[in-house]
Every structure is written in structure tokens, then in C-alpha cells.
């Protein structure tokens, strides 16, 4: 134990540096992600699963989910508001891009401006949904957001005069740098530019969210999550503070929507169902609610498991040539299981296991850890450390 503590001590200085220079840390991490991840994709065994280009395309999609997760983290992890319809704002961002930059409306507003517009529109919807509902107790909010998350895709589906219904809107414009850095259109076949773009967007969002978390606003969010009544009795306007958390979550989701739509070039209502809301929530919970780095890592890992891991697991098990077992009428053919079909079952299992063994998530914030492990040694040690400080 004392060895472990010595190690913590040793790490104290770099840790203090990183805490002091949070934004720099984010920028360095983003640079590392940009350079190292595509390189890792060429290593064994990853190169066996796909060429680098496909991997990088997958990373860009993972970036979308990282963005969604860090946004939802503000709502659920910091302010403690259970939002079950988060995908609705994702859809609103994506459709805003479809209206602003496709032949459907004939508008061709540049992607970079649409990022701002999409985020703003999503924020507006966040405020409109939050204003009447955030005064309600937590469980009501969960129901209302669940309903909103269902209504948005249904409205998109049925208002086909304005949205082309199930077919979706196609032919969305690609981002363009207008010759800057020698780049014109991004082109749907070149994932590297999308990957770079999403890393930059995530890094910017990260820096902003981290700074907010460390401000009076972030403290107010956490105070509300800890004890809303006491927070109000200390002068916090709980309605406006919760509304702000909700709007910021929606803004981030809107950003993700615009980027996602531009990368895919198509938007249709089936991309924004409850499964998206649920997946992002699972990412936040498994990653470690309240800790932005944990949530980002959780989102990336889960996305890669979902999109590469399960496929490869299937291929791997098929390769083992497990014989078909016949138990009376029951035929068990492990080799032919398509694990992707079972991803939500696996999510469920992972969540249940996690809640039993490590409810604070993989990379929890210090607060969560304290909250969920009342009197473990770990806490006692933490306390001892804190007492020893002069």
C-alpha cells in the first residue's frame, strides 16, 4: 500500500502540471490522438481487421460519439439530470445541416458556419424543452426527455413534405477549406480530413467544458446534483443553472449532428432513435460520470468494441471451427453467431456487471468514487493524504 502511495506522490508533480495547464493537456492529447491512432491501426492485429483508411473513418465516427458523450456528461454527470432523449438534439443538428447545405433547400451555407448554426438551433430546442420541464423532479424529466427523443424522429418521419420521411435528405455538402492548406472539398472517400476535423471539434469542446466545470457554474451544477434544496438555499438559481446545463448538452449534441451529417452526406430519421440516446448514456455511465476524460475514453472504447470488436469476435470464433452442438431440438452453432445482433444484450450485461462491481465507471471522478464507496480503504487513504498536507 505504501508503495502505491509513493507512486501517487511521484505522479503528483506531473499531475499538478496537467491540472494547471488543462487546455495545453487537451491540445497535446489531441495531437497525440491525431498522429498515433492512425499509426496504431497499422499494427498487428489491427491491420488484419481492415486497412488504415477504414480504421480512420471509424475513428472519425467514434469522435462523434465522444463529442456526444462529453456533452451528455454535463447534463447527467455534473448536473445530475437524467436525459433519455439526447439523440433528439443530435437529429436537430444533423437536419439543420441538411437544410442549410443541400440541394433539398438549395441553400449552400459553408460547413463551418453551419456548425455554429446547428449548435445554436439545438441549444434553442434544449431551452424550449428544458424551460417547462426542469422545474419538475428528476424522474419527470427522464420521462419528458424520453418522450422528446421519441417524438423528434417520428415527426421527421411523418413530415415527409419537409423531410422526405424515411428516405431522408441526401446529397449534403461536404466541408470545404476553400484551398486553405491546399484542400478544397473533403471528399467522402478521404476519412483523414474528417478525422482531423472531429478531433479539433472535440478538443475545442473539451477545453470549454473543462473550463466551465472549474467555474462557479460548474460548482453550481455539482451542488445541484448533490443537494438541490441546499443549493437553492445558498443562492443558486436552480432553474437557470439546470437550464444552462441542458442547453450546453444540446449544443454539443447539435455540433455532433452537423459533423455527422456532413460526413455521411445523408440524414434519415432511423439514425437518431432511442438506441443512440441509450448508447451515449451507457458510454457516460461506463466511462465514469462526471469525469470528462473518463467519459471520452469510455465513449471511444465502447464505440470501437461495437464497430470492430464484435465483428472481429465473430470472425475469431468462426475461425475456431467450434462443432455444432445438437441438444434434442436445440441446435447450438457458436460459429454462426452474429455478435453485432447481440450488442444491446452485451451492453445490458456490461452495465449490470459494472453497476455491481464498479458503479462509478471505469475512470470515475474523485467525487463519484467517494459517493459510491463510503468507507473503503481507498477513501481512508485519500483522507489520510489530505490530512497530511500542511
Amino acid at each position: 500500500m505504501s508503495g502505491a502511495r509513493q507512486l501517487t506522490r511521484l505522479l503528483d508533480r506531473p499531475r499538478a502540471f496537467l491540472r494547471l495547464h488543462q487546455s495545453l493537456t487537451v491540445i497535446i492529447s489531441a495531437a497525440l490522438v491525431l498522429t498515433v491512432l492512425p499509426y496504431i491501426a497499422t499494427w498487428y492485429p489491427f491491420n488484419g481487421f481492415g486497412v488504415q483508411k477504414d480504421w480512420v473513418g471509424g475513428f472519425a465516427d467514434a469522435g462523434v460519439f465522444v463529442l456526444l458523450a462529453v456533452g451528455l456528461n454535463v447534463v447527467v454527470g455534473l448536473a445530475g439530470l437524467l436525459d433519455l432523449g439526447y439523440a433528439a438534439f443530435f437529429a436537430i443538428g444533423a437536419y439543420t445541416y441538411a437544410y442549410g447545405a443541400s440541394s433539398f433547400t438549395g441553400l449552400h451555407i459553408p460547413f463551418w458556419i453551419m456548425l455554429v448554426i446547428g449548435a445554436a438551433v439545438a441549444a434553442l430546442f434544449g431551452l424550449l424543452l428544458g424551460a417547462p420541464t426542469l422545474r419538475l423532479r428528476g424522474d419527470y424529466l427522464a420521462i419528458v426527455t424520453l418522450g422528446f427523443g421519441e417524438i423528434v424522429p417520428v415527426v421527421i418521419l411523418n413530415a415527409d413534405a419537409y423531410t422526405r420521411g424515411t428516405n431522408g435528405i441526401t446529397g449534403l455538402a461536404q466541408p470545404d477549406l476553400y484551398g486553405l492548406l491546399g484542400i478544397n472539398g473533403f471528399g467522402f472517400t478521404n476519412p483523414y480530413l474528417y478525422f482531423g476535423t472531429v478531433v479539433v471539434i472535440v478538443a475545442i469542446a473539451f477545453i470549454f467544458l473543462q473550463r466551465l466545470q472549474d467555474s462557479r457554474i460548474g460548482r453550481a451544477w455539482v451542488a445541484i446534483r448533490e443537494d438541490e434544496l441546499a443549493a437553492a438555499s445558498m443562492g443558486i438559481n436552480t432553474v437557470s443553472t439546470k437550464l444552462l446545463a441542458f442547453a450546453i448538452g444540446a449544443t454539443t449534441s447539435g455540433l455532433a449532428g452537423v459533423f455527422y451529417a456532413s460526413k455521411l452526406g445523408v440524414v434519415s430519421p432511423d439514425q437518431f432513435g432511442f438506441t443512440v440516446s441509450f448508447t451515449v448514456l451507457a458510454m457516460v455511465v461506463l466511462g465514469g460520470m462526471g469525469n470528462i476524460w473518463g467519459v471520452a475514453a469510455g465513449a471511444f472504447v465502447i464505440f470501437e468494441i461495437q464497430h470492430q470488436g464484435l465483428k472481429q469476435l465473430g470472425a475469431f470464433i468462426q475461425g475456431l471451427n467450434v462443432p455444432v452442438v445438437t441438444l434434442g431440438p436445440l441446435k447450438i452453432d457458436i460459429g454462426s453467431i452474429n455478435f453485432i445482433n447481440y450488442q444491446y444484450l452485451l451492453y445490458g450485461l456490461a452495465l449490470v456487471t459494472m453497476m455491481l462491481l464498479r458503479p462509478e465507471g471505469l475512470f470515475p471522478s474523485r467525487r463519484r468514487r467517494l459517493e459510491l464507496h463510503e468507507d473503503t480503504d481507498e477513501v481512508a487513504e485519500l483522507l489520510a493524504d489530505e490530512m497530511l498536507e500542511p
Partner: protein
């Protein structure tokens, strides 16, 4: 350690130095609270002189905490009104029906402008005005939900009144602690106090996101001030300890530091010495006396420990079954037969 808390706080025995003509800082009239059939507080008339320490005592379930919560805006009274610094803060709504008109004034003007512009020609100006009307309507409704201070005072000037929410009451200058400690358990002592300072900090979303000077200086100043409050209540070395890990007595002190950080003019303390040992109790009594003497804060105290009550109070009010049964100096109340009866014949020692 002094033999009696009264000796530890020398000024406590002398009545508060209030001029005879000064109006009370808090004035409650006919406050009643019903929970279904139970009348928890019945037609209480009650005032607190500026700069005084007034105690509210009474047997369990007498309605003391309920009365506190009404002052603090956590409970809506069934009847009655409360003035704080000559301003109505809690009471029946006045002309509440007129409030929605305010929401439609600006959007209404925009709609008229839009209609006018459309009448002249079908140009873009009319469309802009129509969009502005929708925007203003949304903004108005958001403001009505958020109820910022300027909105409340604007309504006040039009004679419209609604009881304040807890945060409005804090902003008016009433701070409080809770009978069963309600700290932000997983935040550090420092952060707890900083939350108390929330309404006196002004950094906006933009300031924080861009780390502008306002945010940075305010953040540093808030840490200094929070440390000052921690020192003041006797927790100078606990700033980085998570609230839940503090010993019980320290948690009570931290609650007071957090309440002081709201910069109250009136401090409501709900049983600040509950569960404390005699040493801690004496220290707390001294602290309460100092808060009044050094900071000039008026204090309303709920307390069961008669030594504390007799030691610091200028005046004592006794509640029983929601009714005020006695009021006066500690000595007079202590000798009052009705009070002795309320405490089941056991005279307050």
C-alpha cells in the same frame, strides 16, 4: 473554558444596541402553515430587532423548523406575510394575474410592427419583425421561468408580488443552516463555501469558457474569501477535505461558514449545537456571539440546549403545537409557567 457561555460572550447579556425608532429587520404577521389537517404553525406574529440574537425554542414538533423554512422560502405559508428590511418577501400573491401581460408586451409590439410592415409591402423587413416577435416571445417565457432579479423588481414596481424562491431570499440577505446537516457531501470544504458565494460572483459563461480576467480574478478572490470564512469558523486547515469526511462538529461549522459566505444580514441557525459535546457547544456559543458582535449579523436561533439559549439570546420566543406561547427576555421566559408546562413541568435548567 469559561464556566458559563454567557461569560464567554461578554456582550450577549447586554441588549442589542438598537435605537428605539429602528424598524425590525424581520417582521412576520399571522404566519400559518397547514399540512393537511395538521396546523404546524398557527398565526405567528414575530419580529426580530436589528442586530439582535433571537431564539426560537419549543418541544419537538412545535413547528420551529417549519417556521424557518417559511422564512427561507422553502415552504409556502398557508396564510400570513413576512417583511424583511421593510420589503415583502413572503406572502400571498398580489396581482399575479397581471404577470402574463408582461410576457406579451415586447412580442406584441413586434407582431404589430410585422403586421404594419406586411401591410406596406411583402418585403423582408416584415419577415424579420415576425421572426423577432417569435424570438422575443421565447425570450420572455424563458425569463419568466428563470425569474432573474431585475424581472422580479420590475414586477414589484408594477405592484405584482409572488413569494420569493429560496435563492431570491438569499439574495435579499437571509442565510441559513439546516437542522440535519445538508452540506454538498462530495465537495471539499472550500468548494462548499464557494458555492455559498455563488450569488456574489458574476463571471458569466463566456468569462469562464474563455478564462477572461473577470473569471480568473474572481476565482482567486473567492478562494481567499472562502478561506477567510473557514478560518473564521475555526476550520483553517480543512479547506481541501471533502465535506463528508469531516467530523460532525466541523460539518456544523462548515455549514455556518457556507451560510456566512452568502453575506447575510440575517442568519437562521437551526440547532447549531445538536449532537455536540459540551466543549464544542461552548465554542459554538462563542462563535454565534462573535458573528453578531464582529460581523453585525442579526441571528435567529433554534436551539434545544438551554445553556446556549440563555447565554446568547436577547430575546426568546417559545412555540408549542405551532402557537406562540411566550416571548421575552431569557429570564422572563424561563420563569413563565406556560413555558414550564409546555416542557412537561421540567423547568429549563
Amino acid at each position: 473554558m469559561s464556566a458559563s457561555p454567557g461569560a464567554a460572550v461578554p456582550d450577549a447579556a447586554t441588549p442589542a444596541a438598537t435605537p428605539a425608532d429602528a424598524r425590525p429587520i424581520l417582521d412576520a404577521r399571522g404566519v400559518t402553515k397547514r399540512f393537511g389537517g395538521l396546523v404546524a404553525v398557527r398565526e405567528i406574529d414575530f419580529d426580530i430587532p436589528r442586530g439582535a440574537i433571537v431564539s426560537l425554542i419549543g418541544p419537538n414538533g412545535a413547528g420551529k423548523t417549519t417556521f424557518f423554512n417559511i422564512i427561507a422560502g422553502l415552504l409556502e405559508p398557508t396564510d400570513g406575510a413576512i417583511d424583511f428590511m421593510d420589503e415583502l418577501i413572503v406572502g400571498r400573491p398580489v396581482r399575479a394575474w397581471a404577470e402574463p401581460f408582461f410576457w406579451f408586451i415586447l412580442p406584441g409590439i413586434a407582431v404589430l410592427v410585422a403586421a404594419g410592415l406586411f401591410a406596406i409591402d411583402q418585403g423582408i423587413a416584415g419577415v424579420i419583425a415576425a421572426v423577432a416577435a417569435i424570438g422575443l416571445l421565447i425570450a420572455s417565457l424563458l425569463i419568466a421561468v428563470i425569474r432573474p432579479r431585475w424581472y422580479i423588481s420590475t414586477l414589484g414596481r408594477a405592484g405584482i408580488f409572488k413569494s420569493g424562491r429560496p435563492n431570491d431570499i438569499v439574495a435579499q440577505g437571509i442565510g441559513r443552516t439546516f437542522q440535519n446537516i445538508r452540506l454538498f457531501a462530495n465537495m471539499t470544504a472550500m468548494e462548499n463555501v464557494q458555492v455559498g458565494m455563488h450569488s456574489h460572483m458574476h463571471a458569466t459563461l463566456i468569462d469562464a469558457a474563455l478564462r477572461l480576467k473577470r473569471h480568473r480574478t474572481e476565482e482567486i478572490l473567492s478562494q481567499i474569501e472562502a478561506q477567510k470564512w473557514l478560518d473564521y469558523v475555526g476550520l483553517p486547515k480543512r479547506s481541501d477535505v471533502v465535506a463528508r469526511n469531516l467530523p460532525y462538529g466541523d460539518q456544523r461549522r462548515l455549514e455556518i461558514a457556507r451560510a456566512l459566505a452568502t453575506r447575510p444580514k440575517l442568519l437562521l441557525l437551526d440547532e447549531p449545537t445538536a449532537g455536540m459535546n459540551p466543549v464544542e457547544t461552548t465554542q459554538m456559543t462563542t462563535l454565534i456571539g462573535r458573528i453578531r458582535k464582529e460581523l453585525g449579523i442579526t441571528i435567529l436561533l433554534i436551539e434545544h440546549d438551554m445553556r446556549v439559549v440563555m447565554g446568547v439570546s436577547d430575546r426568546v420566543t417559545v412555540l408549542d403545537h405551532g402557537e406562540k406561547i411566550a416571548e421575552g427576555t431569557p429570564e422572563a421566559v424561563r420563569a413563565d409557567p406556560k413555558v414550564i408546562e409546555a416542557y412537561l413541568g421540567a423547568p429549563a435548567q
